[in-house]
Symmetry: C2
Subunit: 377 residues, 2 copies
């Protein structure tokens, strides 16, 4: 299609829908297209397919299918988790603990409620989370894998602390919410990871675009954030988009089957990338702690360059990468919020995120470093 050989290293931005997922969706568009709420046999058949898809999703988290709510994607799931928990609690001014690395779907929601005085928010570094919890805290929100720099947060340990806190204080709060959209290669079992709410997004995990899920543990109080028909057990109204929901289930079956192998492969690729960078004359530093990051994301600072220039220049040579989160590109200056948040403000506008996926190979990485050298070497 292109005159150059394009190399896609922007998997954290979005992934292609896998062939298996596409195939699983196919018959639900125009053949078994029925409304799953309909009571004739064809409708009930479709309802069973939604049930199966829900079970597949639950299989990825090792949780009960009833705890899965289908949404339109990560943004809606995050909004529902945050707003839903705050709206459902009976406190006058609930308190939320949030890391400085949260996705805008979380941080912008919190900032809005903070600005109107409806809630109090403690914006903290991950290591400060446990110390920030107080009696009014209803929610702790921790992005599992930061979408810009790939840092992995110790969700399991934070969850363990929170569970003990709730037990010791004889309270149902705080809940632990984690955005796991970028965490498909990491441990995610609900029992062991100790989260109460969790978000996944189809478009980041080789699933369909326009669908996601919110895991809600039993007895966790979450108000719906929209109103309408009684779908999704009253938690999220609107006729279920059957093909998307089926595709999400399929994507998570694939993700589960391949995660360990992919973790290892992507980690090797990342190490290879670092080796090549080190062997080159490129003056760079890695943003974030490389030992505590997801194998599919590497974010590097190249002093003196402009992120925007670099991404455009690389793009013209067929290398697709990003300055940070794609969703901020339209509105804001090309600046990484997460790079700033880790204290490397001088790097916020001089960084590039490369993110790897199923098609990424050593050959591609070699070419990317070579291309990078052409204008920063």
């Amino acid at each position: 299609m292109y005159l150059y050989m394009a190399i896609y290293l922007d998997y954290a931005s979005t992934t292609p829908t896998s062939k298996c997922v596409l195939k699983s969706m196919q018959k639900f568009w125009s053949n078994d297209f029925y409304n799953p709420s309909a009571i004739y046999p064809e409708g009930r058949k479709v309802a069973i397919e939604i049930k199966k898809a829900r079970e597949k999703c639950a299989g990825f988290l090792d949780c009960r299918a009833d705890n899965i709510v289908f949404t339109s994607g990560g943004t809606e799931s995050a909004n529902m988790a945050v707003l839903g928990v705050i709206n459902a609690c009976k406190l006058d001014k609930p308190h939320v603990v949030a890391t400085m690395f949260e996705h805008p779907a979380v941080s912008e929601t919190l900032k809005l409620l903070e600005s109107t005085g409806q809630i109090e928010v403690s914006w903290v570094k991950p290591e400060e989370i446990t110390g920030a919890i107080k009696p009014e805290t209803v929610l702790v929100t921790v992005i599992y894998v930061n979408n810009e720099i790939g840092s992995v947060q110790p969700v399991r340990e934070i969850g363990k602390f929170i569970k003990k806190y709730r037990h010791d204080h004889n309270t149902i709060y705080p809940y632990l919410y984690t955005d796991a959209c970028q965490a498909i290669y990491l441990p995610i079992n609900q029992e062991t990871m100790n989260y109460d709410l969790l978000t996944l997004d189809g478009s980041k995990i080789y699933g369909p675009k326009g669908v996601g899920l919110l895991y809600i543990r039993d007895n966790v109080k979450v108000s719906p954030i929209s109103n309408g028909g009684g779908q999704e057990a009253g938690k999220r109204p609107g006729t279920e988009p059957v093909p998307l929901v089926v595709g999400l289930g399929e994507a998570l079956v694939e993700a589960k089957a391949t995660k360990d192998k992919e973790f290892k492969r992507l980690k090797e690729l990342k190490n290879y990338f670092i080796e090549l960078l080190n062997a080159s004359k490129i003056n760079y530093s890695i943003n974030g702690d490389i030992d505590k990051s997801s194998p599919h994301i590497i974010n590097i600072c190249i002093p003196g360059i402009s992120s925007e220039f670099a991404v455009i220049a690389l793009g013209e040579k067929g290398v697709m990468c990003s300055a940070g989160a794609s969703c901020s590109n339209l509105e804001l200056k090309m600046s990484s919020r997460s790079v700033s948040a880790i204290g490397k403000t001088e790097c916020a506008e001089s960084s590039i995120r490369f993110s790897f996926g199923r098609a990424t190979s050593k050959g591609e990485i070699k070419k990317v470093v070579k291309t990078l050298l052409e204008f920063v070497g």
Copy 2:
């Protein structure tokens, strides 16, 4: 696939995705799958496709593309219209005028805000709308075609009255919102129809499932109902589901090209259905004013039958129809809110909705009446 010849007369519940729509979406799943916010050429190319899709949608309403916001479907659009307008207005206790026939996405949203005292709602018959408007009224909401009985409301005339009211009172309020999910066969041009906000849903118009749009006229104040990235000009965050958005554009191009012809054809089919019913021994009445209803919906009351029994019995014989809105089936008793709203409470649980679409033929209708006769004749 089935041992009997199934007849689908539940198009108001959901439509199959058309072949053209499916084809238009195809390459955006796994080939041109890029994030439209990305600044490399492949991403910008996808952004252009979204722009084209927005223009196609605008073509259906004869409005500017900038006035179209993509959503996950009718329910989200309706929630955004209602909550967005209420949240954006500066009044202490805004007033809303709503017909008694609104879709639950509207009526449930209003009831919730009414129950907490945040707003005042006048629930009225369509003819009472103009008289119910007062200085505090920020929104008038009128479902264009009722999804259960097919009644068409005089949106154009109500809009004309509201425009004059705003002009005479030198105020920007009230806005007129209309749910047009079932109104694809009717006049919908923005200029002549005088609405300020309008909802369409992909899954009701042979488009993809999981996508819809909200039309918002210039200068109409609507707060976003979720927070996150700055997509959709800051009005609706979340990475755009490109295939769905492209498919929605295609569906509306098809709908525009076929609407006049389909209006005529469906009206003939409906008349034929009525003729056959009249010629049969079935004791029935039509719910709603047949002369003021969409050609694709007919809702009949058969005294003494149970809606649920009828829909199941017909379903077992291969005729797919509905007792009312599908979305209420899971939660509520099989009862039509709209049939009750027109004062035929005795018919609320004894009515059946048949809704026609592209594949509906005279032969199908003949068979349906024959099937109906088998157990109510």
